[in-house]
Structure formats: structure tokens, C-alpha cells
Amino acid sequence: MSAGHRTQRRLQRGGDYSALAVGLGLGITIAIQISTTTSHDLKSTASLITSASRLAALSGTYFALVGLLMVARIPWVEGSVGHDRLVTWHRKLGPWSLYLIGLHVVLVVLGYSMNDKRFYPRELWILITTYPWMLPATAGFVLLVMAGVTSYKKARAHMSYESWWVIHLYTYLAVALSFMHQILTGVMFFGHPLNKAWWIGLYTFVGASMVAWRIFLPLFRSIRHQLVVDRVVVEGPGVVSIHIKGRKLDKIGAQGGQFFGWRFLTRNFWYQSHPYSLSAAPHDKLMRITVKDLGDHSRSLANLKRGTRVLAEGPYGIFTANRAVNKNVLLVGGGVGITPLRALLEEVPPGSSVDVIYRAAKVEDLVLKKELDYLAEQTGARIHYMVGPRDQFPLTPNHLVKIIPNVAKCDVFVCGPEALVHRIRHSVEALGVPSSRFHDEAFAFHSI
């Protein structure tokens, strides 16, 4: 069995175990509600609505906690599920937790107002002002709605990555703020120490994972490896490479195709972490990223000074050469999306037959071209530059098979804009490439 097969199997199992664990936790969470439901909770419409609102609250909060866990960067989970899948699941789960928590808010006020025969807004006001920890919980809900609205596709398209990220950060606060009202007023927790222990345990586990893997591990790495900016090189219009120097970088165990969350400790940007792929296979003393001007942050990277300290979270991603099952490899890069493929190209097993498709709108946008040509010479890889408007290079099944006759036997790696990734996926699927041999790294996946 090839290394590629083993990697596939490990990913498969990792996904299965994670699914089972998430299911078990959901079961326990639902059960603490069921086991504390009494006949009183089912005797009137009002109390039924209130019970439903509690179930929505529990499951919605559970999904929010699982969503946080998915982006807690737990190394075992990252390695066995893969960062892009985690982020995809996080995105799919996020809206559901918001809907369920929203349902809880609507229903609990409705149930109470029916029971008390009070006007809805008045009941809402009484709940917020007189129940313990309800004001923080309300603030938390507002923050959650803000994060939800700004993550909505259409809204996000109008925002800079930085603003979205800062607002999204407040979801931690939202989840934390809602905790006390759950423990103090939740009927399933009062007088049920085991239920309380489950819930507190869940919150503690998520919080501790966040602190350990997202704060302490990068700090530890930074001290151990002494990462600093060594050089900033202009590669093309709006594209710069940043060389990062350090000690014992081989100990980090990064591979070409992976990325880190980078935090440059300058006065303006120390608090922001941004994901960029390595653009060359890492060496003992040097790592390199290549960044296109996409937001305020990437623009300012061009002005980084030599010696600026760097914190790195990672390595993340399973977009690596060891996932290739076959000896035939096709790498497809769009624009600056070529950078992880450039790093990956160095690590393709010797004896592989490699094709590279490099899409760009203009010749100036072909970054790292010299390096690619050099590597092609060394490894025998064939590079197909496709520069110009999209209709000139349709990348349909017919078009692909004309350029790369054995494409059906290839392991396909794609990195670039979402549209390109989708197009290639459809084409190679039509040509008979199974999804286990299609590996993608859409830029959008990087952004949490």
C-alpha cells in the first residue's frame, strides 16, 4: 500500500471518529434535557414551547462549542481531519447554532409570555432585566448575530478581511457571556450536579483547547525557533515574498503545500493572525511565504522590517505531496495560488510524472516563474502556462485531456480562486478522477 493510500485511510478514520464523538456529545446534551423534563413541562402549550426553547438552546450552544473546537487547531484533529475540511464544517455548522440559539430566544419569551399572559415585548424586558446574568447573555446573542450577519456571503464580500475577523473574534466573548445564565437558570442544571459537570466540562475543554493550541503552542514555537523576518522580496505587481529566519525549523515538521497562521509583531498588526502558505519547501533555517495584496494587511507586509519577530500557528493543511496515490500528478495553480504548489513540487516523490497548469490573467501575474522553470528542469515536470482571459482556456474535460492525455490517472492538486477550483473539479470528475484523488486548497479556506 502506498503512502498516499495510508494517508487517505488515516483521513477517513479521523473523520469517522470525529463524527462519532460529535454525535455522542450531542446525544448526552439532548439527554440531559429529556431526563429533566417533567409532566409539568408537557401539560400546556406554553410549557411545551418553553421546553422546545430549552432544547434549541442546548443543541445550539453545543453546535457553537463544536464549531469552536473545529477551529481550535488541535494537532491530532488537524492532522487526521484536515484543516480545510474542519473550516468547511465550521462554516456549515455556524449558521445552525445561530438559528437554534435564535429560536431559543424567540421561543422562551413566547412560552413565558403565554404563561404569564403578558405582552411579548414586556416579557422580554422583564426577562432581560430581572433574571440573573440575562444582560450579558443578551449582549452575547447580539455579538453572535453580528458575527453571523458579517459571515453571510453577500455581506462578507463588502467587508475587508480584517473587519470581518475582528467581529468574528467576538463570538468567543459571546459564548463565554452566555455561560452563566445557562448554569444559573437552566432547569436541567439545578440540582443535577452531573448535568452541570458535563456542561462545565464541555466549556472547559473547548476553552482549554483554544488557549493551549492557539496561544501557548505558537508562543512556545516562537521562543524555541526564534522566528524573525529576514528579507522582503518583490515578486511582481502587488506580490511580495517574505523570508522568515529561525532555528531548528525542521523540528516543526512542515511540508510543502501547508500553511501557517502568521502574526507579525509590529505595532499595528501584532493582534492579527493571517494564513499564508509556504511558497518553498521549508529548510532548516528558512521558511518563505509569498503574499498578494488582497487586504490592508497583505499590503502592509511589503513594509515589514528585517528582524521583526514572528509568531506562527501551524503547520496546517493536508494539501501535501504524500497524499498522492498515483505516480501521475497534476498541479493546477491560479494566480498567487501557485505558491503552495511551488513548494509542493519540491516534494513530489522522485519518478513521478508531473504536469503543472499555471493560470494567470496577465504575464506580470506569473510569480515565481523562474523558480518553477528551474524546478521543472530538475524534476522533468511539464509546465503549461495559460495566460489570458478565461474563455481562451476553458479547462473543460476536452481541453484538459488534450493537454494532459493521462489526466484520468492523475492525482490532482488545485489551489486558486474558488471558480477555478470548481471548474477543475467538475472537469476531472467527468474524466473519471475519483474524489479521493482530488485535492484542493481554495484560498477561502484559509480565512479562519
Partner: protein, 155 residues
């Protein structure tokens, strides 16, 4: 599809595991017996008479009652408790007032009162009771009123 089955199966297993440990209790509607079982063996009142000192013909200390102060339950109404103390132990607790102005308060307190009584008697002369879920306001006011009653009784 397989993942969906794993999540679904895991959910069912989780529900089953918890429910087998703490089963659904629809029947008694969370009403504990008013004569709480915890008053059984450890209760000095029950054990005092047989261990009376020989020759002491005086009756045990007469029980006395003490009234707690009235505390507001988050504005829904007031809670005031009265305790009966015999031989330095709370043997009885009752509510002089509970919030009852609106239907939900009546509802809540009808459910919560037996629990609060049981917790008070089990707490052995302390006001630090756990309280009752869904009746946080009443529970807090009850605990404060109980504390003042205990102080008044000299405990």
C-alpha cells in the same frame, strides 16, 4: 452518508447512556415527599428521647418558631419563611409569603416550594441551599430569608 450514520448512531448512544443512568421521571412531577427521607436516621429529634439522661425528668427543650425577614424575588413578589427549631435543629420550615401575583409565579412556586423545603431541612441549619432551577429568584430570596430566620433563632 456513513458519517451521517455515525453522527446519528452516536447521538442515540449518548441519549441511551444518559437515560439509562438517570431515567425519565415523568410520574412524580418532581414533587419530593414533604417528609423528606433525609430526616430519617441522622435526625437528633428522632433519636433524642431514647437517649435522655437517666433521672432527667424534664421534657426536651420546647420547640420555638422564628420568622425570617421578607426579601424580594427579583420584583415578582416577596419571600418570607418561618422556621421551627427544636433542640437547636430546624425541624420545620414554611413560607409565610411567596410571589403569587402572576400565573407563572404561582406555577413556579407550587413546583419549587417542596424542593426548597426539602433542601432547607437537609441543609442542617445552614442557609446555603442549592436552589431550584427555573425558580432562581425565589430560591435566592428564600435563602436570604432563611438566613435571617436562623439568626433570629440564635443558630
Amino acid at each position: 452518508m456513513k458519517r451521517a450514520l455515525l453522527i446519528g448512531g452516536g447521538t442515540l448512544a449518548g441519549v441511551a447512556a444518559v437515560l439509562s443512568y438517570s431515567p425519565i421521571n415523568f410520574g412524580n412531577s418532581s414533587q419530593p415527599p414533604l417528609t423528606a427521607p433525609s430526616l430519617g436516621s441522622g435526625n437528633p429529634v428522632a433519636t433524642t428521647p431514647p437517649t435522655q439522661l437517666p433521672g432527667n425528668t424534664a421534657t426536651p427543650t420546647a420547640s420555638k418558631t422564628a420568622m425570617g425577614s421578607s426579601y424580594s424575588a427579583c420584583g415578582y413578589g416577596n419571600v418570607q419563611v418561618q422556621i421551627t427549631v427544636a433542640n437547636g435543629v430546624v425541624t420545620k420550615v414554611g413560607a409565610i409569603s411567596l410571589p403569587n401575583a402572576d400565573p407563572r409565579s404561582q406555577d413556579i412556586n407550587r413546583q419549587a416550594k417542596p424542593w426548597l423545603v426539602q433542601q432547607t431541612l437537609a441543609a442542617k441549619n445552614k442557609a446555603g441551599i442549592a436552589g431550584v432551577g427555573g425558580a432562581t429568584c425565589t430560591s435566592g430570596a428564600w435563602a436570604r430569608s432563611l438566613q435571617s430566620a436562623l439568626t433570629a433563632a440564635g443558630i
